[in-house]
């Protein structure tokens, strides 16, 4: 467990995740108050990564539940293993016959079976899905509920019981309480507003695109071979591009892909041609690429102009 806010920063830092104090405070509170953390923000700013890294930093098992439309209890919580139950009844046919031998009437036989049905509805035949697994695991774990906004409103309501009491009710068995309260991280892309009831039970964390310095640090950490100048130019450029009105704003992960591509191509400095060829790693829509390209052209032109005024000596070196 973390002991202080600074502890969180170093702990996550050791897992190559750079976070600011703001994030660290929320994470620290989440671990101490045992409250779920709801992480919101645009795609690709490291929301899911935060959950993964947390598990690593704390040395806990990561249990992940990916949400989607139509996700229901059977997939998220538990399911009875029908096939196994059936197989057992088949194998135990003789034994059942033995048990029923003394019964006279059909009614007696049913009563007799009814006395035994606990055997078939027990933990043995319960197939735990992520949520139940997180509750019942012997070690404390990190439960990552990814893209919770993609799930239906009904599923969200169903999550409430687990998030507030850390217990669930299986009708055939009874109420199962968590052995260890898992650290829950929920991520949301805000494709729909989560209900107030859910939000009330969570600590809220809004992750946004990082500021230039932090982004620079992230690039250097994740792409070790990158040159200083290239990293700096990429960051400057991206902050301009993000201001454009795009269908999908380039995120950190896309930035990293782009930088990796540029490093592989052994680029030291951005220029028009290479931008054109590699832009598809950064942008996902044709219209976006066109818009971004205009911006990049302007950027390169500006830089050239700046270098021109700063003296010709620099130019000579480049040739």
């Amino acid at each position: 467990m973390f002991h202080s806010v600074d502890d969180v920063v170093t702990g996550l830092g050791s897992q190559s995740y750079i976070c600011n104090k703001n994030v660290a405070t929320v994470v620290y509170l989440g671990t101490q108050l045992q409250k779920p953390i709801l992480v919101e923000g645009p795609a690709g700013v490291g929301k899911t990564e935060l959950g993964k890294v947390l598990a690593h930093a704390l040395g806990m098992e990561l249990i992940r539940l990916q949400c989607y439309e139509g996700l229901d209890e059977a997939k998220a919580l538990y399911e009875w293993e029908y096939t196994k139950q059936l197989l057992y009844t088949q194998i135990l046919k003789d034994k059942i016959g033995e048990v029923l031998r003394d019964t006279q009437t059909l009614g007696d036989a049913v009563d007799c079976i009814a006395k035994q049905d606990g055997v078939f509805f027990s933990d043995r035949f319960l197939l735990p899905r992520p949520l139940l697994r997180a509750l019942l695991s012997d070690q404390p774990s990190v439960l990552l509920v990814d893209e919770v906004d993609k799930s239906d409103a009904e599923f969200e309501a169903f999550l409430l019981e687990i998030l507030s009491d850390f217990q669930i009710t299986v009708p055939e068995i009874g109420t199962l309480k968590a052995k260890h309260i898992p650290l829950v991280v929920l991520t949301s892309n805000n494709s729909r507003e989560m209900s107030d009831a859910l939000k009330r039970r969570c600590l809220h964390l809004y992750l946004d695109f990082p500021d230039p310095d932090r982004e620079m640090a992230i690039i250097k950490l994740k792409v070790p071979g990158v040159g200083d100048q290239l990293a700096q130019e990429v960051v400057q450029l991206l902050h301009r591009v993000r201001k454009l009105d795009l269908k999908k704003t380039p995120s950190i992960s896309e930035t990293l892909d782009w930088v990796k591509a540029l490093t592989l191509l052994n680029v030291k400095q951005l220029d028009n041609e290479l931008i054109e060829q590699t832009l598809s790693t950064l942008m996902k829509y044709e219209a976006d690429i066109r818009k971004a390209h205009q911006e990049l052209k302007a950027y390169v032109a500006e830089r050239k102009a700046r270098q021109g005024t700063s003296g010709d000596s620099g130019k000579d070196h480049l040739h």
């Binding site: 703001n22 919101e40 029908y82 107030d196 600590l203 809220h204």
Partner: protein, 468 residues
């Protein structure tokens, strides 16, 4: 401290941030862990526990600033200005304050605490006194506030005249002592300036209190009146708020859809499918197969009038159209004045505001001509009628003011016969339908539904009609 946080939560609530009791409790528990020594962590902690929506972060930051730093910030600023004006370094300034304190002690008679705090630069004390007075003033209620400005009342409560006279007395005493000229000049200027500072601080704190106490209309009442306000009276600000309303509307549409999906999960028992599915279990029916009701996605064709007479309404309606198109796959949108143009593609590709602006600007069709519903309908019939099917809902948005052109109501008859339903939304009041060049009486008989739709509440009702 607890009181302050509860108060702060109230302030947040009054400014439209949703803070419930459990969030308050969280804040307390968190603060017990974090402590309140580090201002940065303090702020982060409150934000993480009290604010639950990304859009609430900004109001939180603003309110935090003036609630916790509040008047203290103003005092700091005034002090800095004072030093600059007198041309003193912080050390020299402090020396002067010490000197004044010494002199104050020699002064005869009782000094009011406010004067003392003000002159000796005791920031904490000054802030406390001002806030206390403000609190008392607001608790006292409004009965005695009749025709008096809050400023006058506060000045009276703080005994400003007493402070004033005390400072004057102090000045007279200094002149009697008549120490070295240069210093005296500075001190005199300092005292005058201080008196003015107090006035400024008073104004500042009144302003803050008014905001805190919700002298501004609170969010809820604003919203409800906004929902009933006619589109044609929208101000710039209202137009900006429309976005939020439209987003809520879209949410409502989505909610309806998900309810329908849930209903689709029930259905009649299907023997054949059940048997087939359960073959793997030796015919023991573990999984029951049901005949699922088919989800019918609405096919909508929207015709929106964007002539000058309904400009505000059509701006709103286009936003609405945009979000409808976002939700359903089969929506085709058209705008018309006299010509008719399809904007489906534009709405698909462009971001909301730009799409709406482009549609209104006249890039799609000529917006400066006179409305001619008859011609637009005829064009629709000629070019797009084949795509109307039995499943289509046709939605016409317009005031029906035809400038005495041919109404061509036969087009509506054709549409009604072929389409699932024909809905007309009119941003004009029902009373005026048929008055002047309004052709509504001719059109209404062919509409399955014709509603006036002048504000958001009425639009909400219409949504229920489109999505059954």
């Amino acid at each position: 401290m607890e009181d302050r946080i509860v108060e702060f939560a109230n302030v947040l609530r009054r400014n439209g941030v949703r803070v419930s009791l459990s969030e308050n409790i969280d804040a307390f528990r968190a603060l017990r862990l974090i402590g309140i020594r580090d201002p940065f962590l303090f702020r982060n902690t409150l934000r993480a526990t009290l604010v639950k929506r990304a859009s609430d972060v900004k109001p939180f930051e603003e309110l935090f600033d003036f609630f916790f730093l509040g008047i203290g910030q103003a005092i700091d600023a005034l002090e800095r200005r004072m030093m600059e004006e007198l041309g003193l370094t912080p050390e020299q300034f402090q020396k002067m304050l010490d000197q004044i304190q010494k002199l104050l002690k020699e002064m005869e008679g009782e000094l009011s605490p406010l004067t003392r705090a003000l002159l000796t630069g005791n920031r904490g004390e000054l802030e406390r006194l001002l806030r206390e007075a403000a609190n008392k003033e607001w608790e006292a209620g409004s009965s005695d506030r009749f025709r008096l400005t809050p400023y006058t009342l506060m000045a009276a409560r703080l005994q400003m005249d007493r402070v004033h006279s005390e400072i004057e007395r102090f000045k007279a005493m200094l002149q009697m002592l008549a120490e070295s000229g240069e210093d005296l000049q500075n001190v005199m200027r300092y005292l005058d300036e201080r008196m003015r500072d107090l006035t400024r601080l008073l104004r500042e704190i009144i302003q803050q209190e008014q905001r805190k106490r919700g002298a501004e209309p609170n969010d809820y009442s604003q919203r409800s009146s906004f929902a009933d306000k006619s589109f044609s009276f929208y101000t710039e600000d209202d137009i900006r708020r429309m976005n939020e309303a439209v987003a809520r509307l879209a949410q409502r549409l989505k909610d309806r859809l998900s309810v329908r999906r849930k209903k689709a999960l029930r259905g009649r028992f299907n023997v054949k499918a059940t048997l087939r599915r359960n073959l793997q279990y030796g015919g023991v029916p573990f999984h029951v197969e049901l005949d699922r009701r088919k989800k019918t996605k609405p096919q909508v064709m929207i015709l929106c009038d964007i002539s000058d007479s309904v400009l505000n309404a059509s701006r709103f309606m286009l936003q609405f159209v945009y979000s409808v198109q976002d939700l359903y796959a089969k929506v085709r949108s058209f705008v018309f004045v006299s010509d008719l143009g399809e904007v489906t593609k534009l709405f698909e590709e462009e971001e909301l505001h730009r799409a709406v602006e482009t549609a209104l600007k006249g890039d799609v069709i000529d917006v400066f001509s006179h409305s001619n519903f008859g011609r637009a309908f005829e064009l629709f019939f000629k070019n797009y009628f084949p795509s109307v099917t039995g499943k289509t809902t046709v939605l016409i948005i317009g005031d029906g003011r035809n400038n005495y052109n041919r109404p061509n109501e036969w087009v509506l008859r054709e549409i009604q016969q072929k389409a699932k339903q024909l809905i007309w939304l009119n941003p004009e009041s029902r009373i005026t339908w048929g008055v002047g060049d309004s052709e509504m009486p001719r059109y209404v008989p062919y509409c399955d539904v014709a509603e006036e739709c002048r504000n958001i509440n009425q639009l909400y009702k219409v949504v229920d009609l489109i999505v059954p």
